[in-house]
Amino acid sequence: MKKILIYLLCISAVFSGCDRKSDLNIDGKSTDQRLSEALATYQNKLADAPYGWILTETTAGSAMNGGVSVTAPRAVFSYYMKFDKNFKVSMISDFSPPTSTVFNTSSYSIKATQRPTLVFDTYSYVHLPCDPDPSVSNSPLGGGFGWGTDFEFAFADNIAAAELGDTIHLSGNLNNAKAILVKATQEEQTIFTTTGFGAYNTFNKILTYFKRVTGGVETFEMTPGIGGRSVNIKSPSNRQLVNVACQFTARSIRFETPVTIAGQSISSLDDLVWNGGTISAKINGTAAATITPALAPIAPEPGIAQAFYNEGFDNPWLAFPGFHVNGVDDAYNILKLPYPGGNYLAFVFYPGLVNGGGGRFFDVLSPFFTGLTDTGYPYLFSGGVAFTRVASGRLVFVMLDGGDGVVNPPGLLATNTIFDTGKVAPPYGSSSQGFYIVRKENGVSYDMVTAGDALGWMTWAHP
């Protein structure tokens, strides 16, 4: 009898334990109801900010495509955004001069994926650095990768939506880019809507590669980081290059980490004002400073031009976009350079095409195409051969026409003229001043900068 009762109790326990409820009601609400309310709370948090938000996105240093991950330079992208309750978002971005002032409206949604996720679900400025087409994203990684940014972000504060405050942390779903949303003040909204990303625009009014900042303990130089999304800083006393990602706001440039120059810690350049040729600013918001264009590096690396040339003999240099000229990336659209039947892969600088005797070499300085049967360099012998020499620490080219007669497209003609003259535009001197070779922050990429005017540059590497 005892055994029967025990068996009956066990069977009851088993059946009650197997009772599967199809819905877990908490406080009288179903799972779906609670989920909808949470998503609505996230949306309200974004849309209820009266003056909008400033979003700062920092890449993780890698980019994914189809399961393949590549190392990427760190980059910071900033946006001013205004969300509404109709799932529309209006924004500007420091991605480029046009995006820094012209508002773009797109749509967004809050979705319940593994974590609640903010999705910019129609093409917007957020998508530009994600674009796999390097002619759109200006990514230095080539086709397929963008910058390693995201356009779908999980809310990462690990608190309930109702508890979110004026700062919201986000994490990109694909590339793990980190983003922070900070509520904008009324003053910031006014500045963004009237002058856009003012600091970005003002800073980029100086078009030269080299920018000098005076007014601190020591004058220092700022040059573009890889892909132009960070800055490299050098000073005469510390000739070691320091790379720092920077965030542009309405009036300031903020360094991701402070930079020490001659003992002075600098974390920002504030209150940038264009003075028709130079920029006045304040170091760390206090010390008056001036940013001016410069035609030469402040602390050139000895022997770098010759070393760059020599290294190319065994290992050609490749560049993907063409020259950045007067503030425009790939100004002559080299990424889309045509040749019938071929696909542009890269511009190639390959010293040692042929020896011309007396220590003189003729070199390849010509675009390379895939998909062609009998050639990879269809324009080589019609303007793509260079006689190269090193003079006064600079690389100087004389571009030769080998007489092959292949008609060069206008973009290639313009590019070869820059190689030949060391300037982006006339007037040209009687001889070319050539190019400065500037080592980038990764130590293995180099910028070739027009020494005649410092207004044009092209980035080379061994990919």
Binding site: L318, G357, G376, F381
Partner: protein
């Protein structure tokens, strides 16, 4: 048995991955290979002999002679890159061989025109230096 199959699959996938990586040329290697291809197929008569009316019958032989000569020059260049004097000492022998081979295909008049096109040694802008020096 299951463990053996699992290990075998993982090994095969790993081997495939390594094979795939070994057979994916870097862009730099593609650029180098592309130059070899270009040099092997270029119409050098248009580049170096444009003032000489080379016939269609002569073209294939002339292009091969020039391509082989440039290839030999390139090998010598790489071997003597840090010693220009050694290159200048050995190059004339290569040129003489090239001249003999070319002379066997071109007519005396064509050859005479070609030799007369030799640029001055300091004429850096003249691509014919690539043949004569």
């Amino acid at each position: 048995m299951k463990k053996i199959c699992l290990v075998a699959v993982i090994t095969l996938l790993g081997a495939y991955s390594v094979y795939a990586q070994q057979n994916t040329s870097s862009k730099t290697e593609q650029a180098k290979a592309g130059l070899k291809n270009t040099m092997a197929h270029a119409d050098y008569t248009r580049i170096f002999l444009k003032k000489i009316p080379v016939t269609d019958a002569q073209k294939p032989q002339v292009n091969k002679i020039i391509a082989d000569y440039l290839d030999a020059k390139r090998t010598l260049s790489l071997a003597t890159r840090k010693n220009p004097a050694a290159y200048d000492q050995q190059q004339p022998a290569l040129f003489n061989t090239f001249k003999t081979n070319l002379g066997a295909v071109l007519t005396p008049a064509q050859m005479s025109t070609f030799l007369a096109s030799k640029p001055a040694p300091d004429d850096d802008k003249n691509f014919l230096n690539a043949l004569f020096y």
